[in-house]
């Protein structure tokens, strides 16, 4: 519960058109793209850094939890207000402030939707590479909070490579600028720490992004295989040959069947594995790459290759992949999606292991993966009305993450820890590692105002004793 006087004060800060607190409002902001729900106490829509700062000063003074939120499309519970409090919704701070192609920079407010930025850059011949599947809804602020990935990351890299500077409002309302418009200022990489910190260190109010010229050309192809082993081996061979495609996405048979039920992308439903491959670069040399990849696929017994001949065909090929997660809802709305990542050459073994785990726990698992960088997305389906199935599905997910760690990988390639993978943190990190992360949290947000209760497993509550050193 939040005192009416606080609501009054917040209303004075943002104006009554920018604050919501009725039951239906709180319900609307209790969820994200996961299945969990927790009620906030109030939602505010600031329009400026000054307003954000004023909100934080108030929240800090009263020790009210604050959850920064963009479009709430994250897949880890990152924007669920676990301890209630204020949802700080940045969707109305959505201006593109500057695009400077000569400097290769774009400056945006955090509420700018990723795809809207792309559409603004495209006529100038530029793009911002990270392209999460949520890009048509997700905001740049949200992308930064989760260090979003996407298929293009294989060739171009992830969000942390493309965010050069961030204006951050800290828990006590202080406004700081981390990183820079220019490169190499000697300082601690606070912007690197902030990216992927899942709304726990502060709230971004301005982003300085790195943009690059679009590749001259791209070619998209679909390779269809009769065995999953051949599919993942083809991935290994392509990367092993030194080719760095723009993207290689892998879908298994069950995933294709699910997609075709909803999206009608024209994917085959009787093939064990599918690769969606896109290469990008200079036009004259692209054909050779396409040939090389085709040869490799054929060597791995691909039964069919479809090469897109137009941008419409390209969009059609991508349509199914981009609708994969949502299609799963057609047959099973509450699914668990894992985000475990393994070194790429472990992909065949990892997929095989996922199949074994599915049988062991008797759950249906459909697979899509950013195969080029070993980022799996097994989607585990279960009957929401059956607690036993839910439990089995959860256990299957945990087992999959453990398997990823065992293969030298990580529990999260791009979705973040949030609520969903908190327990798994203990399997991946030593107490000393988590203690170091907590130190960073303590430095930024000593009173745990921002997004409390996320990321760190509860047992690690007792950190290493703080050593207060010599006075500064």
């Amino acid at each position: 519960m939040i005192a009416p006087s606080i609501i009054k004060e917040l209303t004075r800060i943002v104006g009554k058109e920018n604050i919501l607190a009725e039951l239906k409002d709180l319900l609307s902001y209790s969820y994200d793209a996961t299945m969990r729900q927790e009620m906030p106490d109030v939602i505010v829509f600031p329009r400026s850094t000054e307003q954000v700062s004023a909100i934080m000063k108030l929240a800090h003074r009263e020790r009210i939890p604050v959850v920064p939120r963009g479009a709430g499309t994250n897949l880890s519970g990152g924007t669920i207000p676990l301890k209630g409090g204020i949802v700080l919704e940045i969707s109305r701070m959505n201006r593109i402030l500057e695009i400077n192609t000569a400097d290769r920079r774009a400056v945006v407010e955090p509420g700018v939707v990723n795809l809207d930025l792309q559409n603004a850059l495209a006529p100038l011949g530029y793009f911002y590479p990270p392209d999460p599947a949520s890009q048509k809804s997700s905001t740049m602020g949200g992308n930064v909070g989760e260090n979003a990935g996407g298929p293009m990351c294989l060739r171009y890299g992830v969000t942390s490579k493309y965010v050069y500077g961030i204006e951050i409002v800290l828990a006590d309302g202080t406004v700081i600028d981390v990183g820079d418009y220019v490169e190499d200022f000697p300082a601690y990489d606070l912007r690197g720490l902030f990216i992927g910190s899942e709304g726990m260190l502060g709230v971004a109010t301005k982003l300085i992004l790195h943009i690059i010229p679009k590749p001259e050309a791209s070619r998209t192809m679909l390779a269809i295989f009769d065995r999953l082993e051949d599919t993942s081996q083809a991935v290994s061979d392509i990367i092993g040959a030194g080719i760095v495609p723009g993207a290689i996405e892998l879908l298994d048979q069950k995933m294709c069947q699910v997609i075709e039920q909803s999206v009608k992308a024209g994917y085959p439903t009787d093939a064990a594995g599918l690769l969606l491959i896109e290469v990008a670069g200079l036009a004259d040399t692209l054909e050779k790459q396409v040939r090389e990849i085709s040869e490799i696929c054929q060597k791995n017994k691909a039964r069919e290759l479809r090469i897109a001949q137009s941008s419409a065909e390209r969009d059609a090929l991508w349509k199914g992949r981009r609708g994969a997660f949502g299609s799963v809802a057609r047959i099973c709305p509450p699914y668990i999606v894992c985000d475990g990542t393994v070194p790429r050459d472990k992909l065949p073994a990892a997929l095989h292991k996922v199949g074994e785990i599915a049988e062991e726990y008797k759950v249906l698992i459909v697979n899509v993966a950013h195969a080029g960088d070993g980022n799996l997305h097994p989607l585990i389906l279960f009957d929401v009305k059956s607690p036993e199935e839910h439990k089995a599905a959860k256990k299957a997910g945990e087992t999959i993450l453990d398997a990823c760690i065992a293969m030298g990988g990580t529990i999260s390639g791009e979705h973040g820890i949030g609520l969903e993978k908190m327990d798994a943190m203990r399997h991946m990190f030593d107490p000393a590692d988590i203690a170091a992360m907590r130190k960073v949290k303590d430095v930024f947000d000593p009173n745990d105002i921002f997004n409390p209760g996320k990321m760190f497993p509860p047992e690690a509550e007792a950190v290493l004793p703080k050593e207060k050193g010599a006075a500064r």
Partner: protein, 424 residues
Amino acid sequence: MSTVVEELEQTLQLCNKCGLCLAGCPTYKVTGIEWASARGRVALLRSALLDKKLGLDDLNEQIFNCLTCNGCTEHCPPAVPTGEIIFRVRQELLRQKGQPWTQRLLFQKLLPNPEMLHRASRLLRLADVTGLRNLARKTGLTRLVGDAGKAEAMVPKVPASEGLDAIKHLVKNIDKPKHRVAYFVGCYAPNFAPERGAATIRVLNKNQVEVAVPDFVCCGLPAAGYGDMESAKDLARKNIETASKMKVDAIVTPCASCSSYLKDYAKLLADDPQWSEKAKEFAGKVRDISEFLVEIGLNAEMGELKRKVTFHDPCHLSHYQKIKDQPRTILKSIPGVEFVEMAEADMCCGAAGSYAFKNYALSQKVLERKMGNVARTGADTLVSSCPACIMQLACGVSQQKLPVTVLEIVELLDEAYRNARGND
């Protein structure tokens, strides 16, 4: 009788909150509020109907400020039919709260009776001609009825018109017709824009199509939009009966909302054993004007029009009927026309029938976004294919003082045909 909960339970649970619908939801885009998105409305309806956390009428605002444009469903991989869900819960709210007398008057007395509707429109014309309407605005009388008062300003001056009869008089036999169609005139043209009715007939004639104008009544969409399914069904049966007495190749209309709803008659009367077959047959004959002209092969003997043209896709044309290419094919085939595609061309304009009468501010916000997109094309002509859209867009253009003419596609075609050499 199944309850609304039983009917909607499974559908509501199709949503897995991925949030992709936010990309296609105009009310979300202009407010940034979660419950103004498809995902948000579905989630709140779940909270009300399945989780019983609040009552359905606590959500009156969210249920009625949905544009039902279906822009969301296009982005939704499991294709949650949010528009249909909204229609169903409006029906439920109507059942719970009863129907206001104004709606009863409109849906049960006026819309089924074009003659009476025409007379009502003459009353409004009288108010125009005598200056009463202006007076009501100036004295702030219109402001007393809230949003309806504000929205009233968007309805243009009522022209002189003899209603459906005037349009019927324009029907003539043509030499060697290749097709024969029934022209579904709708409620708007006979009362507010008879010239458009004339243009439609001329364009069809130019394409060797003989036109009949039977006594159709309102298609029923306005009633359905307010949850009055019984009135909608009555109107549907009337129209199907009227059509069954004719032998035509197609039932053609230039109003996207009408063509969309007429095509839905099969679904509307699916549970009525006496009418389901006839409804199916009827629906199968319905064509939007662009759809029809491209299907039969558009007569290319047009004169030149030097215009820079952009097209706004009516929701009922693009999202409901998936008709997007045909209007563009037509526009691009007019000599002299430079066609430029606007951003978010298929995003709702905010008209949504009588939406502005209850949600004026939101309608304006959506319109403002549309006008920004129009302005950025540099076009001098904005074309669409639905009277509600046209009215809304014309209003927006006037508000923003854009140097843009707003036209129905049939009007532009009509102009092109009349410009051809050796024509009357």
